[in-house]
């Protein structure tokens, strides 16, 4: 796909490096505002876009609360509702090295779209314990929900058409912090 990028209309930048950073800082403050007991909060990033975002939010929150915040990663591949309709997905590591029972789990993902990944994540999380509550933080909410799911913390709301694509590029994986909206 990459070699033909020049054939496509120029993508629109919806978050640049500094606005992405500010959005994450704001989400961290909102999480801290909603949950005054930092000891009760754990972050779980959804593979694979949410994992690095969860780590960055944890860094902000550690500064705010003055203590380390546990971070885990969750792969939802085994819980998807479209298995059998497409080739088996690549399963990435699920690492939750702490007990989530009784905690407030903040699920972190890059883009909220149909809500199906979030539903799968809620199911997958269920196998690890019974959290006190689960909250959802996303960098971009692009609409078009197919399930009754809503984010608690949103970096940016972006009205999109179904034919458009959101491309979240992060320093850790892509060498830059920027979110594009691409026309197909």
């Amino acid at each position: 796909m990459e070699p033909f990028r020049y054939l496509m209309p120029d993508p629109t930048v919806i978050l640049n490096t500094s606005s992405l950073q500010r959005a994450l800082a704001r989400i961290a403050h909102e999480i801290a505002e909603r949950n005054d007991l930092g000891t009760e909060v754990v972050l779980v990033g959804v593979q694979r876009g949410g994992v690095h975002l969860a780590q960055r939010l944890a860094n902000f929150l550690s500064d705010i609360w003055g203590q380390a915040v546990p971070v885990g990663s969750l792969d939802v591949g085994m819980h998807r509702d479209d298995l059998g309709q497409q080739a088996a997905p690549k399963i990435r590591p699920t690492v939750i090295p702490f007990d989530i029972t009784g905690k407030t789990v903040v699920l972190v993902d890059d883009v909220l779209f149909s809500g199906r990944t979030t539903r799968a994540a809620l199911d997958a999380l269920n196998d690890f314990g019974r959290p006190r509550r689960i909250q959802l933080a996303v960098l971009v909410d692009r609409g078009h929900r197919e399930l009754p799911i809503k984010a608690d913390f949103v970096g940016k709301n972006v009205p999109t058409s179904l034919s458009e694509r959101i491309d979240v590029r992060l320093q850790e994986t892509d060498g830059e912090d920027v979110v594009y909206l691409e026309k197909q």
Binding site: H79, L83, G84, A87, A88, K90, I91, R92, A124, D127
Partner: protein, 313 residues
């Protein structure tokens, strides 16, 4: 990450990349087995049939538990209690199972190529759980998984397979998998059971046990397959144990970090001394645990993406 196969029939036709995909996927499923809740809904609503025309305990139980942990429904079908005894052909048996809307059929059969034969006319996915002396793909995958997990790599390792190679499907599948992933394979055993023809598969063949195991990183022991041997291949079990059995004396002349593997069932005092089977270098029980994870991964991968005829076999 590549996997577009509807069936798992043998290792010979897999690429190194496909083998690695299974191993990577299995690592995630091994983690599922270590949780308090060991079940995921990946195969919810699917029907898996264990069609075992040849006796097996551990492979059948492993496949059954793997399917159950993926939330599939499982039917076990064994030769001695089946209509095959009443004269039904394998093809008709399989067609009848498919008429019950089975999605995945796992077959063990004494005839080479039985799974390939079924895959030609069934819409269901077919997984080979051992066909004659031909291949036993999931055993090779779990063996390579165990090697990779313990040694952190496969390429460049010296793997010695010791025992009855001629009648062993485990040996053939392991030779394919290990050599595709870059390991050096040595075969050793009585000359009647280790023909030189295996050199054509890129293996070193030797009849000197000490030479075979001296530089080995892995020793994979195989049982003597009495049930498949049509004539006497060596004078006596005692002689075999003396000449080829792994005992403390032989083990003392190997690398200190050598791993001892065995696909089971083990015959204590024949191919392996009792104390060696239970020693710290033996990973025989880890292989059983890993077998479950690998079979979950295989069921998960072959289930992905198929409407009945969409993916070519």
């Amino acid at each position: 990450m590549t996997w577009n196969r509807k069936h798992l029939l043998d290792i010979e036709s897999l690429t190194a990349d496909e083998i690695t995909t299974v191993l990577d996927t299995a690592r995630a499923f091994k983690a599922v087995g270590e949780r308090a809740i060991k079940k995921v809904p990946a195969l919810r609503g699917k029907t898996v049939v264990n069609l075992f025309i040849e006796p097996s305990t551990r492979t059948r139980i492993s496949f059954e538990l793997a399917a159950l942990r993926l939330t599939a429904d499982v039917i076990n079908f064994t030769a001695d209690a089946s209509s095959l005894k009443k004269g039904e052909t394998l093809k008709d048996t399989a067609r009848n199972l498919e008429a019950l809307n089975a999605d995945i059929i796992i077959i063990r059969h004494s005839a080479t190529g039985a799974p390939h034969f079924l895959s030609r006319f069934l819409h269901a996915s077919v997984i080979n759980a051992g066909d004659g002396a031909h291949e036993h793909p999931t055993q090779a995958l779990l063996d390579t998984f165990t090697v990779r997990e313990r040694k952190r790599k496969i390429a460049g390792l010296n793997v010695t397979i010791l025992g009855d190679i001629l009648y062993s499907r485990v040996a053939r599948s392991n030779i394919w998998a290990l050599s595709k992933l870059g390991a050096k394979v040595t075969l050793c055993g009585p000359s009647t059971l280790v023909p030189r023809v295996f050199e054509q598969m890129g293996c070193r063949v030797t009849y000197d046990v000490d030479a075979a195991i001296g530089d080995a990183d892995i020793i994979n022991l195989l049982r003597i397959q009495h049930e498949r041997q049509r004539k006497t291949m060596f004078p006596s079990i005692n002689e075999y144990a003396g000449l080829f059995g792994l005992n403390r004396d032989r083990l003392s002349r190997t690398k200190p970090d050598v791993l001892i593997m065995h696909p089971g069932p083990i015959n204590r005092g024949v191919e392996i001394d009792s104390e060696i089977a239970d020693c710290g270098r033996s990973v025989i029980l880890e292989q059983v645990t890993n077998g479950l994870a690998v079979r979950m991964a295989v069921l998960f991968l072959v289930n992905g993406g198929k409407g009945p005829q969409e993916i070519a076999p």
